[in-house]
Symmetry: D3
Subunit: 195 residues, 6 copies
């Protein structure tokens, strides 16, 4: 078990490429820190949904958020443009192979983790789609925090918030849409204030 823990330590030391490519200082956000942000968001969203009567597997959501970026320990954090040059199929295949190699020493549990990973990649459950939504929300909260601290040139990220592509319905969609609206409102204030 130790060898997988050691390998995943790398995620603490791996910068999210999106910030580097936009000229932000090193260590603006590590992959590990982002995964933490996703897990927090997942927990809050899940609890809100349950409060609204939606049945949902929170444990599964937390597991998905914890492991959804493991393959980056071997692949690195590919910028969005990179994914486009490789094609999303090739990228998914490579990430899955990396994921398999990371967990292969785990015996029977390797299969369970791989299943979770595939569920996330295919967005094949409400849980996985919500984790994807949390992934985007944590990204935007980070963008908001950076812009409040003075960063510029991050406008393109907000397009995701304006036209989200999550296939969510009912309460799940309501909760996510609400957070996105709040984010957009908060964002407008950032620049309004100094202009």
């Amino acid at each position: 078990m130790l060898s997988i823990l050691i390998e995943l330590q790398r995620l603490k030391n791996l910068d999210r490429t999106g910030w580097s490519l936009r000229g932000l200082p090193p260590r603006t956000e590590s992959v590990a820190a982002h995964s933490f942000g996703v897990a927090v968001t997942v927990m809050l969203i899940a609890d809100e949904l349950m409060a609204r009567g939606v049945e949902i597997d929170v444990e599964r959501m937390l597991r998905l958020s914890v492991l959804h970026d493991w393959s980056e320990a071997r692949i690195g954090d590919m910028p969005r443009t990179a994914a486009q040059y490789f094609g999303s199929e090739a990228r998914k295949k490579a990430e899955l192979a990396a994921f398999d190699d990371i967990v292969k020493g785990m015996g029977g549990r390797a299969a369970t983790y791989r299943e979770l990973y595939e569920e996330y990649e295919h967005r094949s459950s409400l849980e996985s789609r919500l984790v994807k939504a949390a992934d985007v929300i944590d990204l935007l909260v980070q963008v908001l925090a950076l812009e409040r601290a003075g960063a510029k040139g991050l406008d393109e990220f907000w397009e995701v918030a304006r036209q989200p592509e999550f296939q969510l319905e009912g309460n799940a969609n309501d909760v996510v849409a609400e957070i996105l609206r709040e984010l957009l409102t908060a964002r407008e204030k950032v620049f309004a204030r100094y202009e």
Copy 2:
């Protein structure tokens, strides 16, 4: 919900003080990255225990790992020496008050989160004791990674591994003790190799 997500972003930007005080470079590890490491460790330990037939609430463990350091968004990451000067009671009280203020906008859920937080602080369940063990294991895996990369002066951390204070029994104790032994073995090799 947005305001709590914004506040917890701070944990991505907050260095673990232990490294700074020992002369390691800035951003060696953020509090958020550490929390991610704890969540990973928790998941692996929980699954190992379940494979050995132990009944355990994994969701609860993941929730505990995700929220156990939230109060640091207001208190900061106090070095061990600081805790000693304040007294552990005062520190726990302050952290709890900070935690309460962080979650107070969450309505009914605030109480649930607080309960989880207190469970962790009091080690009042097997789950919370295992999360504490994961907290220490992630610390030591980080120390190991740093020492493998050339860091020195971190010896004192290994005392925890030699005389762990977790009150665990049976399988839970076995699994944790095994990882600690593996860690100590791996650690000995680090210095053996260059000497």
Copy 3:
């Protein structure tokens, strides 16, 4: 004497938490660098006061500025919010205990340093109140420098400048108030310029 010098080296490597919590990059300012800024400010203020005929113990002021943050080598740089959760009495007590432990190997001089430290903490002399003013002025000059370089989200710091709480009178008050006014004027220009 060496052991105290080694311990205080830590202050060079300890980030001022205020910047980290507001999303600024690591190592924006170390505690040691801030203490230097306070000492510079103290020297300039003291000389200005003496030029206006105020009798003042400059050596004492320089000593106070050099040692006023030593306890942070053991306590860390607690964010303002942290102090509030601990209560200012508990915080002062803890800092004093840490200070005592740092200087305790200094024999007879330990008592002298402790006396200076307490003088600062209690603002029991004109000198100590002026060092506190210098502490705030250096903070604001740093904020100004950061804002001129593009940082945002630091507005709250300027409230201190608008309603200073130093209990100063006569010439001492005039000199400090003048610098604060100059700072506020310079600050207004920062945003005026880009708006």
Copy 4:
């Protein structure tokens, strides 16, 4: 012309992933800094070869070293393991497509740059093979510098030096082999000294 210069600025801000994944601090080496190192090495090797009577196109070599990593502005610096999961063919194809998009606004010159890039990728000339050798030499000089400054855990890089795979002959091979030997000798001294 400006837009390509702006895009390539990103390489100044992009960390070489190899160091991050091995726990070294952020900004240990940017892609741009590495490309500079390759260009320096290329110039010295070319001049040494010419002194030994080898005819070689130095301008071409310098051009190759300047542009051989441009695609990383869109792909990022993929760790070696990543390349293996994508397959070297897929990786080369993606990098070429990225390169094409970067230079496509250059009119007629785009084709010339692409040709140079392909020459490097295919190692289809002595010049391109020597630039590849310089790429490896600069990597190893960086490793040596890091190890001299205290880094550990970089042993695997030295295997390249022991069994180089450059298809070079005669003088070209001699010059490169000589530098590699010097590097290995210098490296042995690093650890000998502290053991």
Copy 5:
């Protein structure tokens, strides 16, 4: 040859002082990364000029860009104000002496490199004047990138673009002037956008 490569590695680790002095984060740009930017700019400018029928020695230009900052490995990156206090003659003399010591182990080639260095310092050829222009252009592209990412307080750099002091004529002047105009236009948009 190895010892010069080792010494020049230092340029990868040496921050351009201009950014530090203006409050930008550490490692905003290393000297090595800047030299790479100059080499890229040189190549693009040279090719544009050749397309316009200007005969020019591209190899020489690339060599000049690669070696024009080597002396900083011993002198450091002196801020502009420093140069003014030493006088430009003293500075040039010191840099030349440092350059000589760096290359002195290169045998016959030392003289060739020194000649190139002096050509650059004296701007005694069209090639060297164009490399100087590329040096300024890379600086301004970096400033533009920083301002787009949120940096302020860099206005003074743009004065160079408004009143360039390159002694260029005809096509060479046209090409450089065009890039500077494009830069100024792009720069105006940066602040227009957020105001």
Copy 6:
């Protein structure tokens, strides 16, 4: 007064070049942090000397330590090799001119500060010689701290400790020599331990 405070803020953001040139991470130590270290050392040495009955002007020593590096806000932190290429006379002259420009807005006090600066540069008093000793001691304590944390390649700094060039006598010499001996002993243990 504000403008000088703003200019000296730069010292907080200026890395000591010695560390960068030896491959240590950015922001290992700022000039401001070092000046703080010198001031601390000065205070401890002065108090020790007074305890041994030496009459000494502590205020003067503290002033010298606070202002001895101000010229670096305009000159930068020149590496030792740089000083050698410029000649120590030229360097001193340039630094003095920079110092004059920094303080010139201070009216009558400019002359006083300049006098102090010259006293330090000429080591014309016991106080200034002791501040120089403190300057070296703080450097060595920093080296010791770095080596304890894993840094290597810093051996040359210890030569200063073995053959100090301070022209001190009697008690002053005893106190400084004692600290240097303690430093050398502590240093030997660093490498002994891991070998």
